[in-house]
Amino acid sequence: MKLLLSVLSLVALLATPVAAIEIQPVTSPEGRQAWLVEEGSIPFVSIQVIFTGGSSLDPEGKAGAMSLMTALLNEGAGDLDSQAYATALESLAGTISFEAGRDQVSMTIRALTENRDQVIDLAMLALTQARLDDDSIDRVRAQMIASQEREARNPNSIARRAFAELGFAGHPYATPTGGTPESIAGLTSEDVRNAYRAAFTGDLVYVGAAGDISAQDLGAIVDRIVGALPDSNSTLPDYRSFNAPPGITVIDFPAPQSVIQFGHAGMRWDDDDFMTAYVINSAFGGGGFNSSLMQELREQRGLTYGVYTGLASNRFGDSFVGSFSTANETVVQAIDLVRAQFEWLANGGMTQEDLDRIQTYLTGAYALRFDGNGSIAQILASMQFQGYPLNYINIRNDLIRAITLDDVRRVSARLAQPDALQFVVVGQPVGLD
């Protein structure tokens, strides 16, 4: 199910809880913003920093540059070589990790209260004085090629990538965040340094923190981190909706079961109807044994272990995408069922009962997302990145409850486009040419 988690993660963040936690807006001495949930019962803090851009900034032909760069950030900084840097961090039992996403690079820090400043020192070194030595680049590039070779032979990845290539040709979203074995092999030391300069800029950065830290201490950290970075001069990509031609694309892969990725254009994250679309997707295929698709394919017919859909409403593009696996013999039947479910949805199939059920679930499940300091810090940074107001957390459930069946029917007709569906089938399906 991993493949869909990344697609769904942005969507999941929308379902941020109300109440229970109190977000404190923090303004640093130099006037920068951060969001904090202060909770001192366990002596550590989680800090999440999001830098806008991510692999969308990889230049043409340089897919994977941002990922390779972030993988090199624990390979030494300043006077500390790779071993010395790792040793220093381990001695403090802190975590500093970087991840290149589609639209952002995120930095995750976890530090004990007793040595938090020293962990921040190491994070600052990585952000401003990463060594990016040639021998490290060679080693990490080889590791990344190995992992991408594996991806390139994984039917789930093959399906996901082919689907993206079909729908986002010419846009950064057409290429995988981590690049391909070929694109990574071509990356030079200069590409890595360019990615480093492009990634960490001080103007489009968002900070969330949770745990044992005061607003004052957090403010000082924000000034240290953000104040040290230059402003961005990168050009962000143009916005694009998924636009593959409808149909079925078969990619031969020797296995008794096929992996199917399907979908069409989705909805912009800032669309007025986005919340309604989110509710519709949750009932239709957003996880859980009771979704419409899960009932049709798994519970009633045993055709698959799981079928999921998600609104991939990213910063620079959108799609409405789903996936499942089924035996080669039942691919045609399953595709027909998915298509029929899209028609059912587009024609106003969802009932008041479906809506009540999903509203109860979504509004009730809010608190489950408070899964500790790490999750809360991440949610706080993501909410800012996505442009949500501070009080969103308090009104979000009301917004969900306010959605009517009329809204659902109107937006379903807009969202579900059975005739636009593209299916990428990776396997040896029976009855498809």
Binding site: A20, I21, S41, I42, P43, F44, N74, S82, Q83, A86, T87, E90, S91, L92, A93, R110, L112, E114, R139, A142, Q143, A146, Q148, E149, R150, E151, A152, R153, N154, N156, A255, P256, Q257, V259, F289, N290, R298, Q300, R301, G302, L303, T304, Y305, S325, T326, A327, R357, T360, Y361, L362, T363, G364, A365, A367, L368, F370, D371, G372, N373, G374
Partner: protein, 445 residues
């Protein structure tokens, strides 16, 4: 405050003066119902949510011969109808209450859980108690579910060379113990499973005196106990629970070697599994030594013994690893592995791995590295308090294999007290005759 753990910690500090104390959260509270069901409560009042987990002391290693996969199949079927609930009603009720539910099966246990707002705990217990004894399996339910499992197997194992290789490795490591069988079952045996077989298995193993209830989150222990008595209390104990004795391993006399080729392999690698001791109640020192050994050899991708020597200094591998799994009823295992760098053969990489292990035994434990590992373990005792759910999960797994909550509380301190001599003794005891070494390669490699 009189916290017994605190006293142990203070005693520990005398030994390891440079370490600050292990962070002591409130220990879990433990009860036993009259029918033998164990009840454990972990209070964490930071958020108004709770997780209920019911762990049955039965898993894939209890599948009868020829019926591999039955424990896991039953886990799926537990979401079907009972005498009073319709098929699917369990999960939809959880969902209608804003909760999430699921289940998982391992070799030694099967566990069911729900995460919900804490005021819904009673309802969750009512439903979980109901399906402990009132499951009703109709063919219209169990037949399509068997297809779901075949799809699951195909999705997990059939589409991943690594998973298929892992399955073959285990099957070769265990010569007699059912740990060698896949949890999900072998395909040809899954195809023969029926609702009747599942029902027999259910009647035999699902009972309050074979179950552990763990509730973690925003609750009070006495309230949980009262609810547990109300819902689980009336279920009678089963008098003739089968003893948990599985076939055991004979002395292993011959090292096994596997070569698996698969067109989907991107980068070949070597993996080795050794039989190793498991954690035993009141006797966890040996297991703790293996745990620290695995951490020193392979936990850090940069400074661990294997990575530093092979990936950094010698440039022979892309990565190298070590691991230890000791939370098991009958037998633990230890893992070593390497993925060669370009131009290095699997044989060269494996030889280099063995050289590093031999040198480690020869030169002994690096005191600074051990100190860092201890610092991280101590920090982990703080970080892990952040998730009541993961505390519930690790405690449940420990109790399901015969460890007590006290064993689990002691575990971290025992790990911190492991000496360099004990670590080297553990390393020396890794016996190639009780091991399997596998090479996973592409078709053309």
């Amino acid at each position: 405050m009189t916290n017994p753990l605190r006293l142990i910690v203070v005693a520990m500090m005398a030994v390891a003066a440079s370490l600050s104390p292990v962070f002591a959260a409130d220990p879990p509270q433990v009860f036993t119902l009259d029918n033998g069901m164990e009840v454990v409560v972990i209070e964490d009042n930071r958020a108004p949510v709770v997780v209920q987990m019911v762990w049955y002391r039965v898993g894939a290693a209890d599948d009868p011969a020829g019926q591999s996969g039955i424990a896991h199949y039953l886990e799926h079927l537990m979401f079907k109808a009972t005498d009073t609930m319709a098929e699917g009603e369990f999960s939809s009720t959880v969902e209608a209450n804003g909760g999430r539910d699921n289940a998982f099966t391992s070799w030694d246990y099967t566990a069911y859980f729900q995460r919900v707002a804490s005021d819904r705990l009673g309802l969750m217990m009512q439903m979980e108690a109901d399906r402990m004894v009132n499951l009703r399996l109709d063919q219209s339910d169990w037949l399509p579910e068997r297809d779901v499992i075949l799809r699951e197997r195909e999705q997990r194992v059939g589409s991943s060379a690594d998973r298929a290789f892992g399955e073959q490795m285990r099957a070769a490591l265990f010569q007699n113990h059912p740990y060698g069988r896949p949890i999900i079952g072998w395909r040809h045996e899954i195809e023969q499973l029926t609702g009747e077989i599942a029902t027999d298995f259910y009647r035999l193993h699902y009972a309050p005196n074979n179950a552990i209830l763990i509730v973690a989150g925003d609750v009070k222990a006495d309230e949980v106990l009262a609810l547990a008595q109300q819902y689980y209390g009336p279920i009678p104990a089963v008098a003739d629970l089968p003893a948990r004795s599985r076939p055991t391993e004979p002395p292993q006399l011959a090292e096994r070697r596997l070569l698996m080729r698969d067109g989907r392999v991107g980068q070949p690698y070597v993996n080795r599994l050794y039989l190793a001791p498991n954690r035993r109640s009141g006797d966890q020192r040996q297991a703790a030594a293996f745990q620290v050994l695995a951490t020193l050899l392979g936990a850090s991708s940069q400074t661990s013994v294997l990575e530093r020597a092979l990936t950094y200094d010698q440039g022979l591998t892309l990565s190298a690893w070590a691991g230890y799994q000791g939370t098991a009823l009958d037998q633990g295992y230890f893992t070593l592995g390497v993925m060669p760098a370009t131009g290095v053969s699997l044989q060269e990489a494996e030889d280099a791995m063995d050289r590093v292990l031999a040198e480690f035994i020869e030169t002994g434990v690096d005191a600074d590295q051990l100190e860092r590992v201890r610092m991280q373990i101590r920090a982990e005792s703080i970080y892990r308090q952040d998730s009541a759910r993961s505390r519930a999960e690790s405690l449940g797994a420990a109790m399901a294999v015969g460890l007590t909550p006290q064993d689990q509380e002691d575990w971290i301190n025992i790990i911190l007290s492991v000496t360099p001599d004990e670590i080297i003794t553990a390393a020396r005891s890794l016996d190639r005759r009780a091991s399997v070494t596998g090479w996973l390669m592409g078709e053309d490699q």
